[in-house]
Subunit: 252 residues, 2 copies
């Protein structure tokens, strides 16, 4: 690795170094997944203090390009915007059709007696729920994390299927007529560290958080889900007038 000459410039050293790193990654000198040289080596290469190299690395870490691991090394994440094309829907039926072909990856399953995050006036609560946390992927690239709370009796009525397949289509198959309300609310937030790890995105990337609530004729919540989408996987098209590419606003 040749020594890069950087000196006597009004731009701070650590910014120049960060730029050099960005360039190396862009040009493929450092490839995705690679372990970059150690702090000591880089400090020697650039002839700066170790802490100055770290400052540059910290910047790229915040940007999601590098991921230092204590004791192991610093790795290139370099996700160059896969720009996942995501189908979006606006009715429960469309949502069901969309999910029919999805194979979720189960992370956690547990039994709860309360819904932890439900707001007021959303519906009455059942006595027990089965909790599942899952990841949905597209081309091996995770695009959302779902935390599902499904009313326990419903879950038990077909537990094998509910465990391995998307919930919405199953719910529509067996309980369509008992569903009276279904709606979801989307907000925009910064990703929490845990979800960032699961979605393999930078620690504080923007995400869309969707709360989905389904109630039965008695006004009881039979399904509650919190979905966290990668911000770059969400694109919402709204037709205000005329015949756009889609007839109505749609959200996955």
């Amino acid at each position: 690795m040749s020594v890069t000459q950087i000196n006597s410039s009004p731009i701070p050293l650590y910014l120049q170094i960060a730029d050099t790193f960005r360039d190396r990654i862009r040009r493929g000198v450092w490839k995705s997944g690679d372990c970059i040289p150690t702090l000591e080596k880089l400090a020697a290469d650039f002839q700066v203090a170790r802490v100055t190299v770290r400052q540059a690395i910290q910047l790229l870490t915040a940007e999601g390009t590098l991921a230092p691991q204590r004791g192991r090394g610093t790795f290139v994440t370099a996700r160059q915007r896969p720009l996942l094309p995501i189908k979006m829907v606006s009715t429960l039926e469309e949502l069901g059709d969309l999910y029919r072909s999805t194979v979720p990856e189960l992370l956690t399953i547990d039994t709860y007696h309360r819904l932890p995050t439900i707001g007021p006036g959303q519906g009455k609560l059942a006595t027990g729920y089965t909790y599942m946390k899952r990841i949905h992927s597209h081309d091996g690239e995770p695009y959302c994390v779902i935390s599902i709370y499904l009313e326990s009796n419903i879950f038990e009525s077909n537990s094998d299927a509910f465990r391995t397949r998307p919930v919405i289509p199953l719910l529509l198959d067996d309980y369509r007529d008992s569903i009276s309300e279904a709606h979801q609310v989307m907000t925009i937030e910064l990703c929490d560290p845990e979800s960032a790890r699961l979605l393999r995105i930078a620690p504080s990337s923007p995400v869309a958080r969707v709360h989905r609530v389904i109630t039965n004729a008695d006004g009881m919540v039979v399904y509650f889900a919190e979905v966290i989408y990668r911000g770059d996987a969400v694109c919402l098209e709204i037709n205000l007038k005329g015949s756009g590419p889609v007839g109505a606003p749609k959200l996955l």
Copy 2:
């Protein structure tokens, strides 16, 4: 200011100090807009190196809580989530009604011969556009920045009004029948520094970016706008089934 004792803990000093700062701001010891003590003073108070205090301040700066200004001091921004309630709409008429009561703040106005960011297949381009960059506020709190490109002849037909009032209602008043298509696409991104400054949010907060295109009967783009909303000002409600609080997905 009493010396805060912090020592012999597995938690890094700068994180402890950052927590202390958060606490002081939350409790009102340091109020919004206040200038906090200098790095020297804080370093002496906490009996740590100046650079360690700076590390804590950097953390809170990234969170949007503190704003250091070189040569002046470090100030508390402390926006405690005003949670702006934003009305949302899904037709051009509703959008017009919503904007009728808005008084935008004009930042820039200029004349262009090209639309800089329009995608392919969105429509034919006119020969000239008038560009305006504006801020919309609610209770004195800015919630979005709009960059508008309005076809020059339309602008000139009523330039005083277009200069000072929202464009959509004026467009509906005078050109309703000539509008054939209007649609918008929302994506989720991190805020650029310039917009962050205008919206008074942290440098890389999550935002919703909306592209809005209006074309006339000839398929010519007469209006193009890019709107950047504060992420925490956007909330999208979608009714999948039943009679929710709103009948259809709506977006401001």
